[in-house]
């Protein structure tokens, strides 16, 4: 089990980089979707380098919107967002891919390329940064085995079970050793055992200095692995606890 202090100490390794600056920072961010739905209302938050943050909240609270802002899938109606030194909103078009390559995202709906096999989907993220073919091949196999899909390299997404697709999405997020991993409900389609394997993987990666932001509904995971918890309700951060708990009782 990992502690927040533990995380802090790990992030010391990154002192050469700008540790004083947060890895992710949002200043008074609002988001109203074109159809008038107000999904976020005045978000102010700082996430330090090497932190591990759970984002919890009921369905429709705004977790995914909060997460999508970080890699500019969604644009804020107001406010500024900084990720790893990039001013996300002020970025020139050509720089957006550079910013995104710093972030590994596990999308809630997986977003696998339907024409590519599992391995090709993961490889795509490496081809984008023009990695050598050999390196791609070994690394893809490595992460596919990490997520327990060593035998499914050549399956197309629609030949995979829901949980397998989700793990391909996890593998793709990890493959480039990104500075930040943003995972939106990465265990929603996984059985408890596999979920824990993925969580241990995230944990290990986090201990190596990677910042992790993860939206989840998994009470057990949140409560067991005491980390920082951000609770979003109705578009606002209603709770921000170091070593927090899921905190909803039924």
């Amino acid at each position: 089990m990992k502690q927040w202090t533990h995380t802090r100490s790990n992030s010391l390794k990154c002192l050469v980089e700008d540790v004083s600056k947060a890895m992710i920072e949002m200043q008074d961010v609002w988001k109203t979707y074109p159809n008038g739905v107000s999904a976020l209302r005045g978000i102010d938050v700082k996430i330090g380098r090497g932190e591990f943050v759970y984002v919890v909240g009921s369905s429709g609270a705004g977790k995914s919107t909060f997460i999508k802002l970080m890699y500019r899938e969604v644009r804020p109606s107001k406010g500024s967002i900084f990720v790893n030194g990039f001013n996300v909103e002020k970025l020139k078009e050509g720089k957006i891919p550079l910013m995104r390559r710093q972030i590994g995202v596990v999308f809630q709906d997986f977003k696998l390329l339907p024409q590519l096999t599992a391995a090709e989907n993961v490889a795509f993220a490496m081809e984008v940064i023009e990695a050598p073919r050999k390196k791609i091949k070994t690394r893809v196999k490595e992460v596919m085995e990490l997520v327990g899909l060593g035998s499914k390299l050549n399956a197309l997404p629609n030949q995979l079970s829901g949980g397998e697709q989700q793990r391909v999405a996890v593998a793709r997020a990890l493959v480039n050793h990104p500075a930040v991993i943003i995972a939106d409900e990465p265990t929603g389609n996984l059985d408890p055992e596999t979920s824990w394997e993925i969580m241990h993987l995230f944990n290990k990666i986090n201990q190596q200095g990677t910042t992790i932001v993860m939206a989840t509904h998994n009470k057990e995971i949140v409560n067991t692995m005491k980390q920082r918890v951000l609770a979003i309700e109705d578009g606002q951060i209603v709770r921000d606890e170091r070593m927090g708990a899921y905190g909803y009782e039924d």
Binding site: E73, G94, P97, R100, Q115, V128, I129, E130, R133
Partner: protein
Amino acid sequence: MKIRTMIRHVREGFKNITRNGWMTFAAVGSVVVTLLILGVFLTLALNLQAFTKDVEAQVQMDVIVQQGTSRSDIDSLEERLKSLSGVKSVQFVSKEDGIQILKEKLKDNADLLTGLELENPLPDKFVVKAADPRDTLQFAEQIRTFPFVDKVKDGKDVVEKLYNVIDVIRWVGGGLVIGLVFTAIFLISNTIKITIFARRREIEIMKLVGANNWFIRWPFFVEGLLMGALGALIPISLIALGYSYAVDAFKNTLIMVLPLEGLIMQVGGFLLLIGAIIGTFGSAFSVRKFLKV
């Protein structure tokens, strides 16, 4: 861009053709049919143009020499006519030749003319052709001012009517070809656009995973080029085949057709160019719309 990335793009472009199997197949089908119709048209239009040129080339004028002009004056007139720049041929037709020609023209009633040979009332004349038949009437004006020229029969009415008809044919034909070229461009790029629209989610995902615009565009370029080229080669082959039959069929008939090789080079080259360009840029252009993620 690294070379291995370029290689990757080409490889992906090829793979996409098969990956999207059915849809690519349908799209190439549309390109084939569109270019086929365009090619058939170009073939006809080129032949029609050659035909009208041929007809035009038959336009000539009769320069009637004044009665009683001496042989040397006639010769110097001939020199003068031949020295006009832009004149293709000058042929002397004596009054004796004239009677023969007239007889042939009257055919069955030729006997009406018996005896005329003795006191031939016909004049000597020159038959003059301009290098550019369209200059004929102008030359006629000019030649009318020459000495020893009685009159110049340029058949103005008929020639003007002929030009009129030829012009209409050319305008209509040219208009159709240009219209068809634009139609083909529109249809091909539109079909490609629809297939890419069907893949917009994929483009979106690629961007979200960190691909930059060129990285996404290149395989589409290659794929579009392949689709366009493939879609051009089939109609080119069909037209070459069909046309070689047509050349055979029309041999020994009134209708003159252009030789196979030259025509196929022109038409084929054009189709390939259109297919490749529209395929490549059509797809690259359509992708652009979905890159704003």
